[in-house]
């Protein structure tokens, strides 16, 4: 087990390195750089734009070759210096603030929501296959998937505001922003989390329901289950003791499939809803090619995904001894 963990951790590092290189390339792919994106901005500060642009470039090292900029950034990250944000004119760590924490919170709650909703529905659908309930629940799950989530977001915002007076957008009432955490602030965050979590979650629920249903059905049709029932094991135990546990393996392991989708759709949803998470700042940083800020946020999101996948692999290894002992994962 330990060897497995070490091996997985070891493999994670080159993955992250490659991702960081890709991230850097992607950010610098559109033509121009921060100076050109902010040209009008710079001109309003007086002086000709082109001149200001050259100054900015020299100041921030944007006129160095890309490779050099990349290694500068990478080296900085190793020692905890995530670079400087041109737009905010402050170190990246200052800009981040509460955002990363709130991003983690939202993603975590969304995944929890997905599991909590899809688990009972998936089990029910498998056990009562082809029943009315099966069709009804599958349909509901698919509804969430098939509706474009940004439309769902804005509709829910409006409805919740009309019905409950929850302020539009944001993850908390504006009065609590930048304030230290308090009970009232926490309550406000929970209230405002309803819309993002439901919107992000409904898309993932459909897939999870289907996976759990398919896996559980596979198990339920196996010989040992038939034997158990024939031998008189009560149906509840016959379900819970063996097939469910087997079906759980891929269910939990599928965080690996789920996490990238949740993370990226949470970014889009947070932009629509104006949440105080990483999303809106990231979007703005990408538009203005604020290299270090965008790069740091992207690495954070990638890290979130990679670690999530690592956790799911570890969880799977813990649940399935075959993997621990070196066999191939059953997918």
């Amino acid at each position: 087990m330990f060897g497995y963990v070490v091996q997985r951790l070891f493999v994670m590092i080159p993955t992250l390195l490659v991702i960081s290189a890709l991230v850097f390339i992607i950010i610098n792919l559109p033509p121009g750089d921060f100076a050109t994106a902010m040209l009008q901005e710079l001109e309003s500060q007086g002086g000709s734009g082109a001149q200001k642009a050259t100054e900015i470039r020299a100041l921030y090292g944007l006129d160095r070759p890309l490779i050099e900029q990349y290694f500068h950034w990478l080296g900085g990250m190793m020692v905890g210096d995530f670079g400087f944000s041109f737009e905010h004119e402050a170190p990246v760590t200052a800009v981040v603030g509460e955002r990363m924490g709130l991003t983690l919170l939202i993603n975590f709650i969304s995944i929890l929501f997905i599991y909590l909703v899809s688990f009972p529905i998936g089990v029910y659908s498998a056990v009562r296959q082809y029943s009315a309930g099966d069709y009804a629940f599958s349909f509901l799950g698919l509804v969430g998937y098939a509706t474009p989530n940004f439309m769902l977001a804005i509709i829910m915002l409006y409805v919740l505001n009309e019905a409950f007076g929850i302020s539009i957008g944001g993850l908390m009432d504006p009065a609590f922003r930048d304030q230290p955490m308090s009970w009232d602030k926490f309550v406000s965050i929970m209230q405002h989390s309803v819309v993002p979590v439901v919107v992000i979650g409904t898309a993932g629920t459909a897939a999870m329901i289907r996976r759990l249903r398919a896996n559980l059905l596979d198990e339920l049709h196996k010989q040992y289950v038939v034997t158990a029932k024939a031998k008189g094991l009560p149906p509840g135990r016959a379900l819970r003791k063996y097939p469910l546990r087997m079906a759980l393996n891929p269910f939990i392991a599928d965080i690996g499939n789920l996490l990238p989708d949740v993370v990226s759709s949470s970014v889009i949803v947070s932009v629509v809803l104006g949440l105080e998470t990483v999303g809106p700042t990231l979007l703005r940083a990408l538009e203005t090619q604020d290299t270090y800020l965008a790069g740091s946020f992207l690495m954070f999101l990638a890290l979130l995904t990679v670690i999530g996948m690592l956790i799911s692999d570890l969880a799977l290894a813990a649940l399935d001894p075959r993997i621990r002992l070196g066999g191939k994962a059953v997918k």
């Binding site: 007086g46 603030g97 409006y158």
Partner: protein
């Protein structure tokens, strides 16, 4: 005698009591506690000896202290809007758009505009209590503007006349003199802009960041602490009064920021040393606090409609007005409509300095521009997009400007397809292709690609125009781009035509510099290369090479040389006439309304106003320091419940 002594004592006591009563009336409750504790001097000592009597408009009344005003903004950089809205300037525009002294007590313009004597108010203090004197002007002029490291681009161009620096004198602590060899009509307007030219800086604070006044070790420590690259960057960052992003920077505005970016919420608190008073001698502003909440720009209309703001203008668009109006009663606000005072809300800009030779010839043919203008159905545009409430016509002065002329507005802008077709035939483009579009001289179909950096409004306008142009045989393609790409293409001569906003100042008087109607700025989309030529003094771009272009430059120079108002009026009229005749830009509609959401009970905001950046500074023209809450409950709540502080 005892009785007399008692009476005198009683009278004295009464007088003292009256005096203190009056004094405490004049103290804002928010500051009263601090004054009582002795942490703040009483208001008589905080105001300058000759405070500025704020010019209350005809509909504005005296107000009461207290309250917190909330506004929404979309980016942290928008803290600079506070400086715009507060509009405390050395000289500023009053309601009649005349220049009047504000921070300055008075200004003397001598020697035909060559010399300006600026008189400060004695006893005027910065927001931290330090005196505001001519020394702050000296600091800026000698240690900032002429310091090579702090100002690599040199002294601001508004202070240069024939490339010569002014002579700047500081005869006494309350007087500053600027003197040039020739008149400088740009000086005072530059000081009154929404984003003004600052010719002063709080020297006692900025010293800390200046290499000349601070020991190198302290400087290095501060550089490290602020995360700057070098002292020049640090100095400039810390001293940008316009941006209102440094809580420690002393200011003369009515409110000062109390927290730094990056943040999602900026709180501005009253400046105890603000120099304006109302007719009863009470120090302004009335409102204690202003809060900027930063959120996504797409949500601002929705949040306004849900009643989450007290005052909002920025980021509200006309196409959201129905939504705003529909929720007024329910959420307790009202939607005012102020006219945007641009010469044209949107105008098409044929690029006279385009590279392609065929297009260049065609666009420079005035008949072509006139035909395109005649082929636009402005009535339909107005009705479909603006409920018929806008003013159709050319990109020129609006009613309300002394230079307004109805005939000039309507020239070449009445919808007339027959005439448009006739003009295009006259040019020689009589052949058409299979789709019915005319062919140009080299056989290419007449397809104009209009590039836009705007959003749905521009796209809608263009799709309406494309329909009517199709009836004249002209095909219109829309090309959406980002702003920097668009500008680069225009500057480089690759764009054939673009769409943008019209003249920024549609209410100009002859005393304004006619820089928008002469080719002097490369940001003028119709002749970017001519503007570039002027700005870079011939280093890049092209010299104006059409008779009309050269005439405009001559008139521009003539304005500077003109001696009196009549001459300036003549120059303006000539330039405006030339524009109307030559259709350098195809104006579409003007006077579009800007929705302004105002909380019920927020007073002193005029029902009908203009929403203009320059001049006007949006809310600045109407004196945000004079806004107040009529509801005592709103005033009493200096701190919102749930607000941590």
């Amino acid at each position: 005698m005892i009785a007399l002594r008692t009476v005198v004592a009683a009278l004295a006591l009464m007088a003292a009591a009256l005096h203190t009563a009056q004094a405490s009336d004049r103290e804002a409750p928010m500051l009263a506690a601090l004054v009582a504790e002795g942490k703040l001097p009483p208001v008589e000592e905080r105001l300058p000896a000759l405070p500025k009597l704020a010019d209350f408009g005809p509909e504005q009344t005296l107000g009461d202290y207290g309250g917190t005003l909330t506004m929404l903004m979309a980016r942290a950089r928008d803290t600079r809007q506070m400086t715009v809205y507060s509009y405390a300037r050395l000289v500023k525009y009053n309601r009649d758009l005349e220049l009047v002294p504000d921070i300055l007590e008075r200004v003397e313009v001598l020697e035909g505009g060559r010399e300006f004597v600026l008189h400060l108010r004695p006893g005027h203090r910065w927001s931290d209590g330090e005196p505001f004197t001519a020394d702050d002007f000296r600091y800026w002029w000698e240690d900032v503007a002429q310091n090579r490291e702090l100002s690599p681009a040199g002294v601001p161009t508004e202070l240069l006349v024939d490339d010569a620096l002014p002579e700047v004198l500081f005869p006494d602590p309350v007087t500053v003199i600027y003197r040039w060899q020739a008149p400088n009509p740009r000086f005072l307007p530059a000081l009154a802009e929404a984003t003004p030219l600052y010719i002063f800086m709080p020297g006692h604070y900025m010293h800390l960041f200046h290499a000349r006044y601070t020991k190198p070790e302290e400087l290095a420590a501060r550089i490290k602490q602020t995360g700057s690259r070098n002292w020049a960057q640090m100095h400039n960052n810390m001293g940008r009064a316009r941006d209102a992003d440094n809580p420690d920077l002393p200011t003369l505005e009515p409110w000062m920021v109390t927290n730094r970016p990056p943040a999602d919420r900026f709180v501005f608190e009253r400046n105890p040393y603000f120099h304006r008073v109302d007719a009863q001698g009470r120090q302004l502003p009335y409102i204690d606090r202003v809060i900027f909440d930063i959120t996504q720009s797409g949500l601002i209309a929705g949040k306004t409609a849900a009643g989450e703001v007290d005052l909002q203008g920025r980021y509200l668009r006309f196409d959201e007005v129905t939504l705003l109006k529909s929720s007024e009663k329910k959420h307790g606000y009202s939607t005012l409509l102020w006219r945007i005072a641009k010469g044209a809300h949107l105008a098409l800009y044929p690029n006279l300095t385009v590279d392609d030779p065929v297009w260049r010839t065609l666009l420079r043919d005035v008949r072509f521009r006139r035909a395109l203008s005649l082929a636009v159905n402005r009535y339909e545009l107005n009705r479909v997009i603006y409920f018929g409430l806008a003013i159709e016509g050319q990109n020129t002065m609006l009613p309300g400007s002394p230079l307004y002329d109805l005939e000039r507005r309507n020239r070449w802008s009445k919808f007339d397809l027959a005439e448009a077709n006739r003009l295009l035939d006259e040019i020689g483009m009589t052949e058409r292709d299979s789709r019915g579009f005319r062919l140009m001289a080299d056989g290419r179909p007449l397809e104009i690609i209009v590039e836009t950096a705007g959003g749905t409004e521009e796209a809608d306008v263009l799709s309406l125009i494309s329909d009517s142009w199709a009836q004249a045989g002209v095909k219109l393609f829309i090309k959406p781009l980002s702003l920097d790409v668009l500008r680069n293409r225009i500057f480089g001569g690759r764009t054939v035509m673009s769409i943008g906003s019209g003249l920024e100042n549609g209410l100009a008087t002859p005393d304004f510099v006619p820089s928008e109607i002469a080719p002097v700025d490369q940001n003028q989309y119709q002749w970017a290369k001519w503007g570039q030529f002027y700005q870079t003094k011939g280093a890049s771009g092209e010299a104006p090479d059409t008779p009309e272009g050269m005439l405009l430059m001559d008139l521009y120079d003539a304005w500077f040389a003109s001696g009196d108002r009549q001459e300036r009026t003549d120059v303006w009229q000539a330039m405006l006439d030339l524009h109307a005749d030559q259709v350098f830009s195809i104006g579409l509609v003007a006077g579009v309304y800007q929705p302004i959401a105002v909380r019920d009970g927020l007073a002193n905001i005029p029902q009908d106003g203009i929403w203009n950046w320059s001049p006007g500074a949006h809310f600045g023209l109407y004196g945000m320091d004079r806004f107040y809450f009529t509801d005592p409950v709103r005033r009493g709540l200096a701190v919102r419940p749930g607000n941590g502080g």
